[in-house]
Symmetry: C2
Subunit: 504 residues, 2 copies
């Protein structure tokens, strides 16, 4: 077989693996949006079966052999092919260290544990989730044993799953540096006398879901999301699924008493969706056509949610839509709406947090996970650690577990080590925005002066989306911005923005 024939054999096998994964994503989307309650058990079985099929295909002797052979001749391949071989090799190296029984068990467990978490969250009672969480942690510890390499702390293994190459040795100083400037910034904001309008929604008002949906669709379309190549549904925990070309699905949630609650989620998930819609179709079902990392994915959602969606300029467009859709809300001006959605203050829920406090929420989860996996903290200690860190950093007593350690779905999905990528997303987003403004020679005010966001989307498409997995995350940021990932652009952005709002 010639090298090209070998590559063709390899890429067909790899596409099959990724078809299993795309189907898995689709069935997970359905599980969270459409599935009837009694479908739970069979669905868990099917998802686990799909995961183990993909795992089996990835670790078949023929697959292992062809990947090793191609990897030895990687210099002979073109850039796209080399990308696919490199990423497949990395994936395979992990896969062959994980026994199929472990993969099956992990996949099956998460399908059944999500509803247990959901119930505990409803009950506002961590103890209803505790034994399930203990099992999830124990299976993750098995994973660590299988995958851990020299020089890695246990938690590093999990961190690497979500952002390749990042370790506690990277996160610890990065997070410390952020905390150093964010805590005083929050204090300054809280002390500042600059008034932010209080939201005063009459008790009698209600905001039907159809109206909220209409508003959210306008926002999502204004960012450039193609709703003929996607859907928007509701889910208790908003997410985005890039299923296959022409089919990207975002979800959001609505609060009929609060027209503001849906805004962040729809902007955020639209940002994720735009990345999925911008990936190169010709490389679908291969790494070259996939998003490079969770951190970079989050940079896209945060850039659209915060840098664009919470900018003063964007509300010159969205203000009118908001007033039109929510006529039972007091008639706030564009500027008041901008100030309302940029209110910064300590609060309990991460997904509703502002740009200043958001990263503190992430760091808290990071500390808790690090304590579990690197320091052997018992699961039963989680609420105590959570609540005491929360009091220390936010100055607030956590009233119940649903406003505390039960708020996020991640642990029920066995996604330990995931949270830090959210903060990476914020940092990358600011770094990208700074470079975009520089490249285009236009400030945000000019970028949005035509009420048209397409120049932003085009820049991201060329610089990020179309590159798929061509470069690792750190490398991609460096290639695009000329600098390695760092927190300076984010900190100066957030200090500048809040200084302006609060007049300091």
């Amino acid at each position: 077989m010639s090298l090209q024939e070998k590559y063709e054999d390899f890429i067909e096998r790899l596409r099959d693996v990724n078809r299993f994964r795309a189907i898995n994503s689709h069935l997970s989307w359905d599980q969270q949006t459409m599935m009837p309650v009694k479908g739970r058990e069979a669905r868990a079985g099917i998802l686990a079966w799909l995961a183990s099929q993909a795992h089996q295909m990835m670790t078949k002797p023929e697959m292992v052999a062809v990947i090793e052979e191609l990897n030895n001749e990687i210099g002979e391949l073109d850039e796209d092919q080399a990308c696919n071989v490199r990423e497949a090799k990395r994936e395979m190296d992990k896969a062959i260290r994980l026994p199929p029984e472990h993969v099956f068990k992990a996949a099956e467990m998460t399908s059944t544990s999500i509803p247990v978490w959901g119930k505990a969250r409803e009950d506002k009672n961590f103890s209803h989730f505790e034994s399930t969480l203990r099992e999830l942690v124990s299976v993750s510890r098995e994973r660590i044993e299988y995958l851990r390499q020299d020089g890695q702390t246990p938690y590093d293994v999990l961190l690497d799953d979500y952002e390749h190459g990042m370790t506690v040795a990277d996160y610890d100083p990065l997070f410390a540096g952020l905390r150093e400037r964010l805590v005083p910034l929050l204090a300054k904001i809280m002390e500042s006398k600059q008034s932010i309008p209080d939201v005063e929604i009459p008790d009698s008002a209600s905001f039907p879901i159809a109206q909220q949906e209409e508003f959210c669709l306008r926002v999502s379309r204004s960012f450039g999301f193609d709703h003929d190549a996607g859907r928007m549904d509701t889910a208790p925990h908003p997410f985005c699924s890039g299923l296959w070309p022409g089919d990207t699905r975002i979800t959001t949630r609505y609060d009929v008493e609060d027209p503001f609650s849906c805004i962040g989620a729809v902007m955020h998930e639209t940002g994720h969706g735009l990345y999925e819609q911008g990936l190169p179709v010709e490389h679908c079902f291969t790494p070259r056509g996939r998003a490079i990392s969770l951190g970079v994915h989050e940079s896209q959602s945060r850039l659209w949610e915060n840098q664009v969606g919470r900018s003063r300029e964007y509300w010159n467009m969205a203000g009118a839509w908001f007033r039109e859709s929510f006529d039972e809300c007091p008639e706030y001006s564009d500027d008041e709406l901008f100030r309302i959605i940029n209110r910064a203050e300590p609060s309990f829920i991460r997904v509703e947090a502002d740009e200043v406090t958001y990263n503190l929420h992430v760091m808290l989860r990071y500390e808790v996970e690090k304590a579990i996996f690197n320091d052997g903290m018992d699961i039963s200690e989680i609420p105590k650690m959570w609540n005491s860190l929360f009091l220390e950093w936010f100055g607030l007593e956590v009233p119940n577990d649903t406003l505390g350690c039960l708020q996020d779905i991640h642990w029920s999905m066995m996604a330990f080590g995931y949270f830090p990528t959210y903060t990476l997303g914020n940092l990358y987003a600011a770094q990208l925005m700074e470079k975009m403004i520089d490249d285009l020679g236009m400030e945000m005010s000019e970028l949005l002066s035509e009420q048209d966001t397409s120049v932003i989307l085009n820049w991201l498409k060329i610089n990020i989306h179309e590159r798929g997995m061509l470069y690792g995350p750190n490398k991609l940021i460096e290639v695009v911005t000329g600098k390695l990932p760092n927190s300076e652009p984010f900190l100066s952005y957030v200090e500048r923005k809040y200084g302006k709002i609060h007049g300091f």
Copy 2:
């Protein structure tokens, strides 16, 4: 390997094949209910890939060998095991005669041809579908070439796909016998002076989908469909998908100007759904846990739709719900509603046809398909043949193709030979109902006197649903009713019912 070990190996492989098929069903459901338009092409690829994966697994040398070995020792297996081996053998014998390229081409083609049909139907223009239909017929002819056995006419091969063992030699006399009594019955009904109330809905009235959905859910629940183990959505062509245990999905459609149009569809699809929900869970992903045939499936939908749902007694329950949901409709009494939904008269659309004319619609399609596959009629002749038979049997000029040969989705899905199973369903349903009434010693009036249909559902569960594929369709009807399938119970039921309504 012992026989039992061989069986275990076989059944695990067979479950995997059926998992692929269940996923295929799910993605087809999504395609018709949820998928964004631009997802079409990639979806077609995925569905074709799934079909060819299942085909590959079914024809792998190891699979063929184990099925042959087990089939040689089938007498040593228990009843359930023998059923699985027998059905797998039959399927495999077909599969090994079909080249994988053919399977892939057929699957991919149907995903793209459905929207072409949909567009032609919108355009009311057969010529927009003609070349696609010609390709579909040509691929079906390839299938016939691969599968045809001694003594089969070409069309027999397709008929066998949908109801095993049935041929034109069976259908021709059966259909002739039906026509012989149905045509005079229709004439008598049309001549009869007995008045059926005219439906007089004010032009200004509209019936919001939410109200119709509420009514449909009540009907569906009253039959015993478990909506915690299923969903009800809308689709242009209503259907039912039994995906996996605890997850059966029915679809219906609504006409905001006509509250009557949704009734038949929801009753019909609920009947299908009840069969799926009643299949033995412990045998899921194996033939023993699957529905035996389309004809028997249709007997369940028709029994609930017609024998139960269009009975005078059922409207003692449903009448009040109807009046409650549709307050812009004139207030018809239970008896008037019963008469309205049993109006029999020549009309254009099969799925909206009454019990008397329905089978004539089916026979017309049967004659057209037979002409194409057994007599080599050209595709371009379809509208002419359709319209001329329609005039002959129904006495009506077909005004456009959407009310004629474009009305049904089946041909766009390459489902030639499918329609006759609808009439089998009507015949089986009447035969089952006659036996049920006999077994229970109660007439329909008594069966429904407690406003409770569960005694009907339980009888069907035990006699039909729980038996899965244990017996072939003809055999099943014989085991349950003591007689081979025949048209007498249907004809006497329909003559009795309409004689009563029209007083002859």
